[in-house]
């Protein structure tokens, strides 16, 4: 079943076509990688999916419904969560509070319920707390729950972003360079984490320049260059694609 379907998506900034007639599908339950040279338009595609930018033309269908024109928070409610290329945590708030932010859209009680602390409201608060701690446990940050986000190491901040995204109970999670700034050991742990996200039935779409990671976790890859799709296929196919090698991978000189 196709979960996310992107068709003829285009976005320009001034005269620059950042994304040019891109189409691809993401099957439910798969892990798909979006790769390409710097400035190819990968992050822009993510921003178009999550409603941070509006496309000039083209459609984004999620679960059969169009996402174009919807505000970001509605898209999150529909079931797409994301992480950011440059980390965007609530830096001065605690790790737990960061994850609670993700749970927000799955809660209902409003300001009046809060003031009068109705039983439903209390139950809901407790439940979201429990879920947040469970997500922290999942990414391995439970012991840091009181710490301020900005005091976490870079790698842990990336994990916290993932926990926050998971707390929105997504069907699809989009990760923008999750391994950026991680060393080999940490990247290795991340691969395991991404696989267990998949095991929870969540579909993953990710951007990554670390080929080791991409080749190991992705079931299929989409390659962009200059805003346009130049290739798609399994990791093995892509790795052997001369065009991709020329534009993106480069020839291995010494390995």
């Amino acid at each position: 079943m196709t979960l996310l379907s992107i068709e003829n998506l285009s976005k320009s900034f001034g005269g620059l076509m950042a994304v040019n007639e891109v189409s691809f599908n993401v099957e439910a339950g798969s892990i798909v990688g979006l790769i390409g040279p710097n400035g190819a338009g990968k992050t822009t595609v993510f921003n178009l999916i999550t409603g941070n930018y509006q496309p000039n033309t083209g459609t984004v269908l999620f679960d059969g419904q169009s996402l174009v024109g919807l505000p970001t928070h509605t898209i999150v409610e529909r079931g797409i969560a994301r992480t950011f290329q440059t980390i965007r945590l609530f830096q001065n708030m605690s790790v737990l509070e960061n994850v609670l932010a993700g749970g927000h859209c799955r809660m209902r009680s409003g300001s009046l319920a809060a003031m009068f602390r109705t039983p439903t409201q209390r139950r809901e608060e407790h439940e979201s707390m429990r879920q947040a701690m469970a997500e922290l446990e999942f990414v391995g940050l439970a012991h840091e729950w009181q710490n301020k986000a900005k005091n976490l190491s870079y790698g842990n901040q990336r994990l916290l972003e993932i926990a926050r995204a998971l707390a929105t109970k997504p069907k699809l999670i989009v990760l923008d360079e999750p391994a950026g700034g991680m060393n080999d050991q940490e990247t290795h742990d991340l691969i395991r984490l991404i696989r267990s996200i998949q095991d929870r039935g969540i579909t993953v779409l990710l951007i990554e320049h670390d080929m080791g990671l991409v080749m190991r976790v992705c079931s299929s890859l989409v390659v962009l260059e200059h805003g346009a799709k130049i290739a798609a296929g399994t990791p093995a196919e892509i790795q052997a694609n001369p065009r991709v090698i020329e534009a993106y991978l480069g020839v291995d000189s010494d390995e």
Partner: protein, 237 residues
């Protein structure tokens, strides 16, 4: 000896991040600093650049006590940095960013020459020279940050994770460039997550753990060091 750091201590608020770091760099070397997240690598570079206040120890550049100088004076000794998180001037154009890299220089001819060189190094930047830096893609910003640090024709170049966010093909070319400029006489201190590549490039390396230097050796030795292999070279699998 070009740069000599002795017993360097740095505090963030009440927390000590560096507990007495000793580090030496000889002229013409590429020295790499390895270490896990939060080990204090960036803090060490920032201490050299004068961006963080140091609470103890000394940093000497030849005979100049850098630890007594404010950041903007240190740059005048031709020590530049491509910082973590890129920190490009988001609402200035690409070209303005680059020109600022040569702020301390008054020789316009020289500046133009450097500019040309950077544009040859990163043709993408030339294409985008009038675009605001903040709207560049992540990798493009990284190129800009490196280019900006090179604009001043540094004697010592501090690179904090230069390959972060760059496409594999560019990572290769960046490392090639570093090698090249090092050959032209620039001393380089390189902080990298990609430890293998860094050690292949460097002459010597240091390994940091929670604010201390725990290992110092030639790069070749470090590459085969068991401990380093375990922790940083993905030797576990």
């Amino acid at each position: 000896m070009l740069l000599k750091i002795e017993n360097l201590r740095v505090n963030y608020g009440n927390v000590e991040a560096l507990h007495g770091v000793n580090l030496e760099v000889n002229e013409g070397e590429i020295v790499t600093i390895l270490g896990a997240n939060g080990a204090g690598k960036s803090t060490t570079l920032n201490a050299i650049s004068g961006l963080v206040n140091i609470t103890g120890g000394s940093i000497f550049f030849r005979d100049t006590a850098l630890h007594k100088l404010p950041a903007h004076e240190i740059v005048k000794h031709k020590i530049t940095q491509s910082p973590e998180g890129r920190r490009v001037f988001t609402t200035l154009t690409v070209q303005e960013n680059l020109i600022l890299g040569a702020f301390t220089s008054t020789n316009t001819e020289r500046i133009q020459k450097s500019l040309k060189w950077i544009y040859e190094l990163f043709p993408r930047l030339q294409e985008r020279r009038k675009q605001m830096a903040g709207t560049l893609s992540g990798g493009e910003q990284q190129m800009l940050a490196i280019g900006r640090a090179l604009m001043a024709n540094p004697k010592i170049l501090l690179l904090d994770e230069p390959s972060l966010g760059l496409a594999p093909i560019l990572v290769k070319s960046i490392f090639a460039t570093v090698k090249e400029i090092n050959k032209s006489g620039v001393t380089v201190i390189l902080v990298e997550q990609n430890a293998k590549a860094a050690l292949k490039l460097a002459h010597r390396g240091y390994v940091m753990e929670v604010g201390n230097i725990v290992l110092a050796d030639s790069a070749a030795n470090l590459l085969i060091n068991e401990q380093v292999q375990q922790a940083y070279l993905g030797g576990g699998h």
